[in-house]
């Protein structure tokens, strides 16, 4: 499959980028006071905002028949995944820069911050996420702030109020998802899984190769792993975008 060969090539460039992210870029952005090896969340956020080209994609998104979809050759998603993981791994150092990033002029940076804060178990983000959910001018930012407010155990009465005031259909739907949580926080296991994930496995699924194994919780509770289906002639594994 050419797609997969291509992904393998992309993977290489991705790791070069990450190497740059963790050494050169960090040193450059953070200036001379930076202790060597110390994590700088601001530098990571800046690098993300430089590389994740929202405007170009917005144009592509509107004019090509590949509606709603990045081209398969665009591997920005790998940077985004890695950025999310790195910020969650360094939650202590990331919280304050992420809270500030919620006020960024850049919409993608506000989205990144809103999403990432949901994975950090910090009460500091609780009130600010609710404020962003109520007031950000971009519905996508509000949507992620709503998700994350829910993941931090958002209060149902606040969400019920948001349900009344939110006019955007998509953001409103996510308010309903958050209400469905009834105050249930994101479980610690999800945070751990993301934090400890071996990112060398990114985009490792290829035709002709062993499928990456996994164990995941099911919507009914309980866990299922790929290996459990050995008795079947095959597994048809379908990734959905989540609109059930």
């Amino acid at each position: 499959m050419t797609i997969f060969k291509f992904q393998r090539a992309m993977q290489f460039s991705f790791f070069s980028l990450i190497a740059a992210l963790s050494t050169v870029a960090l040193a450059q952005v953070s200036g001379q006071d930076q202790e060597p090896g110390k994590f700088d969340a601001n530098a990571v956020i800046t690098e993300f905002s430089r590389s994740w080209d929202e405007s170009a994609w917005e144009n592509e998104f509107r004019t090509t028949p590949e509606k709603y979809m990045r081209s398969k050759s665009n591997d920005d998603w790998q940077l985004r995944m890695r950025t999310l993981q790195v910020l969650v791994q360094h939650s202590e150092e990331s919280i304050d820069p992420l809270l500030e990033a919620l006020d960024s002029d850049s919409m993608p940076v506000r989205v990144l911050a809103a999403q990432t804060l949901g994975f950090l178990n910090s009460d500091k983000a609780f009130a600010k996420l609710l404020e962003v959910a109520k007031t950000d001018k971009h519905p996508t930012v509000r949507l992620y702030a709503i998700d994350s407010y829910g993941m931090l155990g958002g209060k149902t009465e606040q969400l019920e109020m948001l349900l009344q005031s939110e006019k955007n259909r998509d953001a409103k739907l996510h308010v309903n998802y958050a209400i469905e949580r009834a105050g249930t926080k994101l479980d610690e296991e999800t945070r751990e899984t993301l934090s400890k994930w071996d990112s060398n496995k990114i985009a490792s699924a290829m035709v002709g190769e062993q499928a990456p194994d996994f164990t995941l919780e099911t919507a009914n509770g309980g866990k299922v792993s790929l290996a459990e289906f050995k008795g079947k002639s095959a597994v048809v594994l379908v990734f959905i975008y989540g609109d059930t």
Binding site: G150, G208, V235, I240, G242
Partner: protein, 115 residues
């Protein structure tokens, strides 16, 4: 909507002794709400609906943050056929939001594995 499409394929897959597994990149509350909204519960989904809120499995299969649907950056829809030895034999990554392999295509791939 997506689960409905999968349910339609299920009998053919069951007939060929294949297991259908779906992966949702959220942590289950959205699925519960949407099913409830359609008068269903998770018990009505008669194949495993796996939850990948950390996005790590999605990332290994190369799909996260590639489609913006309903204002959210979500997984690119993708279908993998994995044989009984755990090897990937077929992969389809969507080019548009509704691009899916047909039941016939999946059936053809499964028949190759049975022979």
């Amino acid at each position: 909507m997506q689960l409905g499409q999968l349910r339609a394929k299920l009998s053919k897959l069951t007939e060929l002794n294949a297991q259908l597994v779906a992966v949702d990149p959220h942590d289950g509350f959205s699925a519960k709400f949407l099913l409830k909204d359609s008068g269903l519960t998770t018990d009505d989904v008669n194949f495993p609906l796996l939850l990948d809120p950390s996005l790590t499995v999605s990332a290994e299969y190369g799909v996260p943050f590639q489609m913006r649907i309903h204002s959210e950056w979500s997984n690119r829809p993708a279908t993998f056929v994995i044989d009984k030895d755990g090897k990937i034999r077929f992969a389809h990554l969507a080019s548009t939001f509704n691009d899916r392999p047909s039941v016939d295509t999946i059936e053809k791939e499964l028949r190759k594995l049975i022979q």
